[in-house]
């Protein structure tokens, strides 16, 4: 009988009845052919591969991560409750040791959704990985988590959520932001002043192939993971690095993805993007499942796979090598860089503009962070979306020190309700989420 070496959980939720719009890449049949391939290969019959029905996340699961504007119901659809729920189901199965690892093949995706949500960006409304991670931190006491985002787009939403969190290592590998949405994710983006180094961006030039991406995993990602020592490794498993993907310019393959997975050995993989729904996804997903299960994937190749045709140029190889060296250099200097960033400031401010391409919303954020050596630091976000709502949001980190906790509560108490449509509190230390508004 066919048996998986690693017990592997799967949630398969193609949401055959949900789309952003009828012609959008994020539409009903995106996972149809993947499902056909997985079913036809008989993968679900393999002993040790266990399919789970997705749970739904709760309102509180979402509020632990996001400030939803104007409210949760405007941001979440039924599909989002399920896709985040699918990730949560896999995480629970892993934490309860029913399986060694698991893959949530769900849609809609989430890695472009940041902490404040006024609408959809990059096909994402809420960040399903972050919702899952903050749930297992609460329910199972997990502390150190690493997220490796291998989607072709910079995982800017995940980066935003964990920007100030020294206990979450976020590594994003993606096509250079100068050539692709969302235009961020440069080497210099290394995390907020209290968490310098915990964000690692590895931008790659267009046409990077198997050789380049696997080099990054071996030479940069694995050493950093080794050093960071996470309890849980999460892979945001986007598949749009594929050579046939219609909206990106990379040259990765099903074999490459399977090898990446077996090198990375994530506890939890969550599907992100990937829009070559016929030519790539069926083979890539089947390959990732087999790699997670510790089974032979050497026969899983796209019908038109030709490693010669997608081989990267020597120039790309040099670029990638140099990037990896720089990434490691930054990693090893992260403490000094952090001290530099903090200086002797007590509060550090930052202004940002965020564009929601899917919903065409412009947001302006003014962020205030309490500089802290002992925790992630209390965080205050003043956020206004053009022609929409103006809110104030207070985030108190999970392991907040007393000073940061007091500061956060004071910010929430002192907020002027005449100025803001709504004021939010995310007190992660107490696991209390609150909001208030002036009475109409």
């Amino acid at each position: 009988m066919l048996r998986a070496r690693n017990k592997t959980g799967l949630v398969f939720f193609p949401a055959f009845d949900w789309a952003i719009s009828p012609t959008h890449p994020e539409r009903e049949e995106r996972l149809l052919y993947t499902q056909d391939q997985v079913f036809e290969e008989g993968i679900l019959d393999i002993e040790g591969i266990i399919e789970y029905k997705p749970d739904l996340v709760t309102k509180k699961d979402v509020q632990r991560v996001h400030f939803c504007v104007p409210d949760l119901w405007a941001v979440m659809t039924e599909s989002h409750f399920i896709s985040a729920g699918g990730a949560k189901t896999i995480a629970m199965a892993v934490m309860e040791k029913q399986v060694d690892c698991g893959f949530a093949l769900v849609r809609p995706p989430g890695h472009h959704a940041g902490r404040v949500v006024h609408g959809a960006r990059g096909f994402c409304n809420v960040n399903i990985e972050a919702i899952m991670i903050e749930y297992i931190r609460k329910a199972f006491g997990v502390d150190r988590v690493a997220i490796v985002d291998t989607d072709c787009h910079h995982g800017d939403g995940t980066q935003d959520i964990y920007w100030h969190d020294p206990d979450t290592l976020f590594i994003s590998i993606h096509q250079d932001g100068r050539t692709l949405y969302p235009g961020t994710g440069f080497l210099s983006e290394m995390g907020g002043p209290n968490a310098v180094g915990a964000t690692v961006n590895i931008p790659l030039p267009p046409n990077t192939s198997e050789e380049g991406i696997l080099h990054v995993i071996r030479e940069a990602v694995l050493p950093i993971l080794e050093d960071f020592k996470p309890e849980i490794i999460v892979n945001s498993a986007g598949q749009d690095n594929h050579y046939s993907d219609p909206i990106t310019n990379m040259n990765f393959s099903a074999q490459g993805y399977a090898e990446l997975t077996s090198l990375l050995r994530p506890h939890i993989a969550v599907l992100e993007g990937g829009y070559a729904i016929e030519g790539a996804l069926p083979y890539v997903n089947a390959g990732i499942i087999l790699a997670m299960a510790g089974m032979d994937y050497s026969h899983l190749k796209e019908p038109d796979y030709n490693p010669e045709r997608i081989r990267q140029s020597p120039e790309v190889t040099r670029w990638v090598k140099r990037s990896c060296e720089k990434v490691l250099e930054n990693w090893y200097q992260r403490r000094q860089l952090g001290e530099l960033a903090r200086g002797d400031a007590r509060l550090i401010q930052r202004d940002r503009k965020i564009y929601y391409d899917t919903d065409n919303i412009y947001e302006r954020q003014h962020e205030t962070l309490r500089v802290c050596e002992d925790c992630g630091g209390a965080l205050l976000i003043d956020s206004a979306a053009q022609d929409r709502k103006h809110i104030l949001a207070v985030h108190i980190p999970r392991k907040a020190c007393q000073h940061c906790h007091d500061q956060g509560l004071a910010w929430y108490e002192e907020a002027d309700l005449e100025v803001y449509d709504k004021v939010y509190l995310q007190d992660r230390a107490a696991d209390v989420m609150k909001e208030k508004a002036r009475s109409a």
Partner: protein, 460 residues
């Protein structure tokens, strides 16, 4: 009138049914090397003094194919497999005559690699040289496009006695199961052919020209003539037949759990609005996972005649059976004896039942009455736990649309239909079992599976 004929490995049962019900019932022994004589013998006895014109049809079932698979007594068959990219097809090898050839079809049914006729000609020569007479041909995604299977079949021509093509066996996607199912069809073909010819010839000899149906494991039946092309569809039809028997009496709305408590086992199935729940994938027989559609049934090793023992101060029931209950002269105490002692049954020898239970009671250091109560409760609890687990498993079946996940209701049996098994000597005892069980369930001791918190919330 209807003839029912069930050919088993050792016995053949034949019944004659009329409007009034069972008219006649006989049992003859099966002679596997002369099925014609067996069937003819059965038909002769059942139709004695009956006007052939009054017989309208015959319904058959058989365990001949099942037994061959379970006992692994199958002829050598050849398999020709074309897989294309994906899992290594060697993983699904069925035996020594398994040949993987070129060719590939993708998930949309498009050809991604052509087959190579020369290669297949060579495979044919090899199979022929080995004396292979039955061949299965399976290509990946053949249900999306059977072109490669058909082309290979064309090359095989008439050089083999029978060729089975994967896409004809089932429309479902599952390449390894398609291989296994095609393989099993080819493997049981010869025994089924013997059976088929025996039935056709003996009916002809008796001058009976009847429509003939044969039972399938999904509770349906097929034209006997078609069974020659789908012989593996005749396996494991027994459990489905007893479930289908209950459908007529089940509530036509709501969910009903059917429990068939026999002598050795208790078989269970779920009916939703009078329709039995199907196994989502297909039947598993021996080591073979197949695409043969079947009802979702489970069988547990507790029945009215199960052996009851005390081991380390704990009651153990089954899974073995050593004979009838002591109340009927059997060798060891059974749950049926417990029922007699509790006064819910009548008709057997109460003293013998008590004598058997006394030995258990002594070991448990309780009186006979208490021991009987404990045995009865434990039998019921075990059956209900398994039933609860089955309900949970069916509810956990994944769905793939927002609508189904959001609106999909959980199945929760509201009715329990208990069928007494064929307790030898006393149909009454089984009815008592049934009544007792029914009361037990009604008493509210049915374990209610917990409902996940989110179910209670209305979103939006």
């Amino acid at each position: 009138m209807i003839i029912g004929l069930d050919v088993g490995g050792t016995h053949t049962d034949v019944v004659l049914l009329g409007k009034e019900g069972l008219v006649r019932q006989i049992k003859v022994s099966t002679n596997p090397s002369d099925l014609f004589a067996t069937v003819l013998n059965g038909l002769e006895k059942i139709t004695e003094d009956v006007d052939p014109g009054r017989i309208q049809r015959a319904v058959l079932s058989t365990t001949l194919a099942t037994n061959r698979i379970v006992q692994q007594r199958m002829p050598e068959v050849g398999m020709i497999i074309s897989a294309g990219p994906g899992m290594d097809p060697e993983l699904f090898r069925t035996g020594p005559h398994y040949h993987v050839v070129k060719g590939g079809i993708d998930h949309r049914g498009r050809e991604i690699a052509a087959i190579d006729a020369d290669e297949i000609h060579k495979v044919v020569d090899v199979l022929e040289k080995k004396g292979i007479r039955y061949v299965g041909v399976v290509s990946k995604f053949s249900v999306r496009n059977p072109a490669h299977e058909l082309a290979i079949a064309e090359i095989l021509g008439k050089r083999f006695e029978k060729v089975f093509l994967g896409h004809r066996i089932s429309g479902a996607l599952n390449f390894p199961r398609r291989i296994a199912t095609t393989f099993l069809n080819a493997s049981v073909y010869p025994i089924h052919k013997d059976f088929f010819e025996a039935v056709v010839k003996s009916l002809a000899q008796k001058g009976l020209k009847l429509p003939i149906r044969i039972l399938k494991p999904d509770g349906g039946n097929m034209r006997f003539a078609s069974s020659i092309d789908y012989p593996a569809q005749t396996v494991l039809s027994g459990p489905a037949a007893s479930v289908m028997g209950s459908v007529a009496f089940a509530p036509q709305s709501d969910t009903c759990m059917v429990m068939d408590i026999g002598g050795t086992t208790t078989d269970m199935a779920m009916l939703v609005n009078g329709v039995p729940v199907l196994d989502p994938a297909g039947i598993k027989i021996g080591e073979h996972k197949t695409l043969i559609r079947s009802l979702d049934t489970i069988s547990i090793g507790i029945g009215g005649d199960s052996v009851v023992r005390v081991v380390d101060g704990k009651i153990h029931i089954g899974p073995d059976r050593m004979g009838v209950a002591m109340a009927y002269g059997g060798p060891v105490p059974t749950p049926t004896d417990a029922i007699f002692i509790l006064g819910i049954g009548e008709g057997g020898d109460l003293e013998k039942a008590r004598a058997g239970m006394k030995a258990l009671a002594d070991e448990l250091q309780v009186d006979v009455q208490t021991a009987a109560q404990q045995v009865f409760d434990q039998a019921c609890q075990t059956i209900l736990n398994e039933a609860g687990a089955m309900v949970e498993r069916i509810n956990a079946k994944p769905v793939y649309t927002v609508h189904e996940l959001w609106e999909g209701s959980r199945l929760q049996p509201r009715h329990y239909m208990v069928l007494g098994g064929p307790a030898p000597g006393s149909p009454r005892v089984s009815r008592v079992w049934a009544t007792a069980r029914w009361k037990w369930c009604r008493a509210g001791r049915w374990p209610t599976p917990s409902v996940p918190a989110w179910r209670g919330q209305r979103v939006r």
